[in-house]
Symmetry: C2
Subunit: 368 residues, 2 copies
């Protein structure tokens, strides 16, 4: 998804891929293939780049160090990435900054868990600080025994993270981009709909959002980007909470890359998140995040019964000529994010119906 | 410009390029390089394709024949392409169809030219039927001696084309796409502004266009596509003429490919012309040509004094965050089309000023 914008801006995009059948080497001209963990390979690749960026946060520390030692600029840099890699470090830092968070604690023993559960008086969300995504590495628990395996591996130096289970009204996301020279731009706050811990739908902008809450959430996103030194796109996932006196939101997760909650921007905003990420990491002036239509609805396409998407999306294109189909070139596996669809227009209910129909059809949930 | 849309739709785009430094092989994963005239090379390439299409019309007949013999579908096909390759064949066919054309004749002798000039009583536009573009192969003459060189090579079997010099009020273009199964879609009629026979600006839609004229011009574009069996994108360049009783336009040229007059669609329409061309040649359902904003203005970037566009466009991005920059990855040569910019919005005068400023700055005409 970055390749098109890069070509349009005359930017040569090189991709270091693990496997020749990965999506990027199938379309990009400059795509050496090799295990990313082979440090020499990474450094050799990086030396040919003006700037290195990442398509996920879980880049091993030794890889980041090797690139830094080679003197190649990295965006986001290791100092910022740490807060996207380590949820406990993120909670510590956001709390220092006074950003609204769920109540949280670190825990390395069953006693820690029991004490935290007693303090919040409700279910506890336990998280491994590193490596989780789409609900992996997250458990909702009521007793310490439910994370006995994690605690067995934990210590005071490497604790797990405990959070209160937030009673939220809905999930929001703030997407911002920030450049090394400090320019920042924010897209409008969106509503994200999760099904089984996976984002399935995004409504842009978030319907009926209190303007004060929208401003506070955007301000928080920009402040996090600045204070943590984030470069590139930052997604701040939030819970909207019913607190008439409080800020009305708490921060759930951070992602430092173009993010699922921003796929709507590819058709719904003047500047899409993949182009904006390129502009940000190259320290080019950022593009306008203005909406192109009153509403944009994004629906994720997850792997289902349909093995071959090409003949399936023909039907959808014929049914809805305004449907924007984005496929990722991944092989089909159940539950895997294979692509997304966007629809833009003025009638939110109609757009939601059309986006959901398209996603359901591509997933084989419906056959008409 | 086709690569991004192809990747999004999961379509593997292979490009047969003449030179490794051509723009396409610099960005596309599947880009064998070799002289296109080497027939074996072309056929070997084509055999790996489901559909072959072209980025210009001037494909030699033996190449088209070789691909056809290999049994690989080609869109547009040789029968349609002939009318984009041969301006005389185009005039004969459009006249048969009753499509408004300038008065025209074929000529193989000085006497033919003199007779035509006497008949129309004004300047004559002489054209070599094949190979011209951007004003090349076109001369405005007042006497046969001015095309003596062309006539020396002409014969009754291979005449040159003569047309009246049309007194037009402005130039228009109709862009349509048509699929092999006959589905067709038309974008709104646009105004094209030419400077020294090169398109420099496009206003979409054409301002203050009479609705009857818009409908008639669109109808003509769709009819030409259907009658000539065009598959893919067809651009019909027209002159608007002051005839209160007549159709108000005559057809100037045909192009059977994504065309300069349609670059505005990349940002100004729900479906851009490069995606639509792919959808058409693959017989996928066509996308909506709906406008995204009230107006879109495109300005071409021609090669000028600026050798290195990257640092130049930084300035423009900072000045105008809504500017959409599209570069083609070509080396800079004076007058060469290197890219284009689009701006979309509601104030046409403002958009024209911004697009022209950006093009002038990228060309080195202004330095602020």
């Amino acid at each position: 998804m970055t390749l098109g914008p890069a070509a349009e801006l005359g930017i040569t995009l090189s991709v270091l891929a693990t496997d020749a059948e990965d999506p990027a080497p199938l379309v990009a001209a400059h795509a050496p293939v090799g295990p990313q963990a082979a440090l020499e390979r990474v450094v050799e690749f990086a030396r040919h780049c003006d700037v290195v960026t990442f398509d996920h946060e879980h880049v091993p520390a030794d890889v980041l160090e090797a690139i830094a030692e080679a003197g190649v600029p990295m965006h986001p840099g290791p100092k910022a990435l740490r807060y996207a890699q380590d949820k406990l470090a993120m909670r510590v830092r956001l709390s220092e900054l006074g950003i609204p968070c769920p109540r949280w604690a670190s825990a390395s023993s069953a006693a820690d868990v029991t004490a935290f559960a007693a303090r919040i008086g409700g279910p506890v969300v336990a998280k491994t600080p590193r490596g989780g995504y789409d609900g992996k590495g997250v458990r909702v628990i009521s007793a310490a025994g439910e994370v006995g395996d994690w605690l067995a591996e934990a210590s005071e130096a490497y604790p797990i993270l405990l959070e209160e289970k937030v009673e939220f009204t809905r999930e929001l996301a703030v997407l911002v981009a920030r450049s090394p020279s400090g320019q920042a731009a924010a897209w409008p706050v969106v509503e994200t709909v999760q099904t089984d811990s996976i984002c399935t739908e995004v409504l842009a902008p978030a319907p009926h959002l209190d303007p004060g809450l929208a401003a506070a959430a955007t301000e928080a996103g920009l402040r996090i980007a600045g204070e943590l030194g984030v470069t590139g796109v930052l997604a701040v996932e939030m819970f909207e909470v019913p607190h008439p006196e409080g800020p009305g939101f708490v921060v759930n997760e951070l992602a430092m890359r173009p993010h699922n909650s921003g796929h709507w921007t590819m058709d719904g905003a003047v500047t899409g998140q993949f182009e904006q990420h390129l502009r940000a990491v190259l320290d080019l002036p950022l593009g306008s995040p203005r909406l192109r239509d009153r509403w944009t609805v994004m629906a994720n396409v997850l792997g289902g019964d349909v093995e071959e998407l090409y003949s399936t999306y023909r039907h959808l294109m014929a049914r809805d000529p305004e449907l924007r189909v984005h496929l990722y070139g991944k092989s089909v596996r159940p539950g895997r994010k294979l692509g997304h669809v966007n629809v833009c227009g003025s009638d939110l209910g109609d757009l939601r119906e059309r986006a959901q129909h398209a996603a359901d059809y591509l997933q084989g949930v419906i056959d008409e």
